[in-house]
């Protein structure tokens, strides 16, 4: 057989294979589109994730450190009971007066979060006379515009949903822990029972049913402000919050652009 002819045949085979490979993504997109038409996502009450955009903001001045939010979160989401795992927790910042004779405005900063604050806070061991000021800061997933966790997930098991939540797919997570390392805010943990990453879902099962997240539901002082940016209500709490407060984000220098805004926060908060 002449080599030139067979070479052409081989090239043809290779080109065919390459064409088939190249057409795969399109075939898959088409398949997904067809599937979308016939089996649209069934969430509670025909919830459509593209019609909402949820957000929570925090007014630090209102937080009284009762810890009901952290406790409710653990119950609502069956978070492991151990004090190593929290989807939301509360930190207590105590800023001491400067030591006598030191020309400074403020002294040491003492931060604690006993058991994530879920049982409330014990009286601080710092004597009252040494305290310059103190406040509580609730922490949760910062819902970053550029989520480093979703960026880091190797398989697409954690992602930004169309309705503004960052979720973990527990049936798809391989449990590598890269997202946990990538989160600058310590908001993720490895669930010791399921061996998958876990985090605040903004109580996705509640907000899709028209309920508020558990932490927002139980907060006695409305320090957590929650709403839907795509469907603002009359006197929308989020719109009021942004109008009346000077707001900050945590660790802005990292460029994650958290969407969770904090009002009345101190520079010591990290």
């Amino acid at each position: 057989m002449k080599p030139s002819c067979s070479r052409r045949r081989l090239l043809g085979l290779l080109a065919g294979g390459a064409g088939w490979l190249a057409s795969l993504p399109f075939a898959r997109t088409a398949k997904a589109a067809v599937k979308n038409v016939f089996a649209s996502a069934k969430t509670p009450d025909g919830y459509n994730p593209t019609k909402h955009h949820w957000l929570m903001c925090i007014d630090v001045d209102r937080c009284i450190g009762c810890g009901l939010c952290a406790e409710a979160c653990k119950a609502e989401n069956a978070v492991p009971q151990s004090s190593n795992y929290f989807r939301t927790w509360i930190e207590r910042y105590i800023i001491k007066k400067p030591a006598p004779g030191v020309a400074a405005l403020r002294g040491d900063v003492i931060v604690d979060s006993p058991n994530g604050g879920r049982n409330g806070f014990p009286p601080t061991l710092v004597p009252k006379a040494e305290i310059l000021k103190a406040f509580f800061v609730p922490k949760l997933c910062n819902l970053c515009e550029h989520s480093p966790c979703a960026q880091a997930c190797p398989v697409g098991a954690t992602f930004d949903t169309p309705d503004g939540v960052v979720l973990v797919d527990p049936t798809y997570c391989i449990g590598c822990g890269f997202c946990i390392q990538a989160c600058p805010y310590g908001c993720r943990f490895m669930n010791p029972d399921t061996h998958t990453a876990e985090k605040c879902t903004l109580c996705y099962h509640r907000i899709t049913r028209g309920l508020q997240p558990a932490c927002v539901e139980v907060c006695p002082t409305k320090a957590r402000i929650f709403g839907d940016l795509k469907n603002p209500t009359e006197k929308d709490p989020l719109q009021e919050f942004i109008r009346h407060n000077k707001v900050f984000t945590l660790k802005p220098h990292l460029g994650t652009e958290p969407r969770v805004l904090y009002a009345n926060i101190d520079k010591e908060v990290r």
Partner: protein, 435 residues
């Protein structure tokens, strides 16, 4: 009073809750997530990359003195590469889902590239280079070895039995091409591991542009040290003399690689200390406290400065030091360097998780003995590549007892092949290669 009791209960509970945390750490950070297995993973891939780069010195840069360890270095790289994914598989929560990394890779994640980088390096670089290099021998051994072993070698030829000088010349040229592709691939393999850590901006100890560079150079250093170690050990097992020229050459490369590695890491620290961003206080405390023994004593003094001094002495006083002393210096330095690089991986991986991302405190890491993330598993993973290497050496590096003194080395082969080509001698047999 009830409330007073409440206070008492509190103090006990607070103290009992987190005894291993100093200062403040976010609650989710108090448990060290990436443990000894993730220390071993970059160590092993580093050894692979380093051993391959050592082998490429022979092939691409024509360093003839290193020819005796060419095949050994490649087999070492293969043995360690086979083990490289094991620590990851043992570590992840759902190893049964590992294929998802290949099926739906998330292109923005450096970790998603693991499957591809690994497969590329294994198939397109290391196995290909070994196959091209060994094809002639497989054909010969397939004819001479009896029974199953012969069948095994025949299978490895993949049916390509042409060992005419022309075919061997093609092998040779392809092999050089593969090695040239292999060098950036080895850099990619290990630079990528460094990037996994370097890309995490959340962690100031890791998130650093120099991280991939540091990983690559420490990999080269550890790979060469591993080759020195294995070559010395293998010669001892086979009751053969080591080739002094070869050891001297390895010692030279080891010294310069270590010097570069040391400079890059020193630059990293210098830059951290000088630019002194908000994390510097916690990092200084980390280095002087939790990492004092593993970093300052282990990695810096034992793993870097002492070998630098010893190897530096051999460079300065080369011929004045008796051969047997030099051999021992190389061997001893290699051991120290390998331990030092392992400690460097420890300091990066464990050290990076010991301080809180709130930069306000530290947690403690305790290595368990048994268990999936324990001492024993880690040790097993470090020993396993050596067992695989033993098997590979038995299969592919036969002990040639009565070797002629003037056996041509691999670096001379291209010439020989070309000469043979010109002579057009069908009976031309490729000379066997010294260990």
């Amino acid at each position: 009073m009830e409330a007073d009791l409440n206070v008492l209960q509190w103090s006990a509970e607070v103290q009992a809750a987190l005894p291993h945390v100093e200062g403040y750490a976010y609650p989710n950070e108090t448990h060290v997530l990436w443990s000894v297995l993730i220390v071993i993973y970059p160590y092993i891939t580093g050894l692979v990359a380093g051993a391959f780069i050592m082998a490429s010195l022979v092939r691409v840069f024509n360093v003839r003195a290193l020819a005796p360890v060419y095949r050994l270095a490649l087999l070492t790289a293969l043995a360690f590469l086979i083990c490289a994914p094991l620590p990851l598989l043992l570590h992840i929560g759902h190893p049964e889902r590992c294929l998802q990394v290949m099926m739906t890779p998330h292109l923005s994640s450096p970790m998603a590239m693991f499957g591809f980088v690994y497969a590329w390096y294994m198939m397109a670089v290391l196995l290909l280079e070994l196959w091209l290099d060994y094809r002639h021998d497989f054909v010969v051994w397939g004819r001479t070895e009896p029974g199953l072993k012969g069948a095994f070698y025949r299978m490895l030829t993949l049916g390509a039995n042409d060992i005419s000088p022309k075919a061997l010349d093609l092998d040779e040229r392809m092999s050089v091409a593969v090695t040239i592709i292999g060098i950036p691939s080895a850099f990619l393999l290990h630079g990528y591991v460094g990037f996994i850590f370097g890309s995490i901006k959340a962690n100031p100890w890791w998130g650093n542009v120099l991280m991939p560079v540091i990983f690559i150079f420490s990999a080269i250093v550890s790979g060469i040290a591993l080759c020195v170690f294995i070559y010395t050990e293998l010669s001892w097992f086979r009751r053969k003399d080591t080739c002094d020229a070869c050891l001297d050459a390895m010692g030279k490369f080891l010294f310069f690689a270590l010097l570069v590695d040391f400079s890059v890491e020193a630059l990293d620290w210098l830059h951290r200390l000088y630019s002194a961003d908000e994390s510097i206080h916690v990092l200084k405390q980390l280095a002087a406290g939790k990492l004092f023994y593993t970093m300052l004593i282990g990695q810096l003094c034992l793993g870097t400065l002492i070998p630098l001094g010893l190897l530096g002495a051999t460079q300065l006083f080369g011929a004045q030091i008796p051969n047997f002393v030099r051999r021992r210096i190389y061997y001893f330095s290699a051991l120290l360097i390998m331990a030092g690089v392992l400690l460097m991986r420890w300091n990066v991986v464990i050290g990076g998780q010991l301080f809180s991302k709130s930069l306000r405190g530290f947690t403690t890491f305790k290595l368990e003995l048994a268990g999936q993330e324990g001492w024993l598993v880690g040790l097993g993973l470090l020993v396993l590549p050596f067992l695989i290497l033993t098997l590979l050496v038995r299969l592919f590096l036969p002990n040639e007892k009565d070797q002629p003194a003037n056996t041509p080395t691999i670096a001379q082969l291209p010439q020989l092949a070309r000469e043979g080509n010109g002579a057009d001698d069908p009976a031309h047999e490729r000379p066997s290669v010294a260990l």
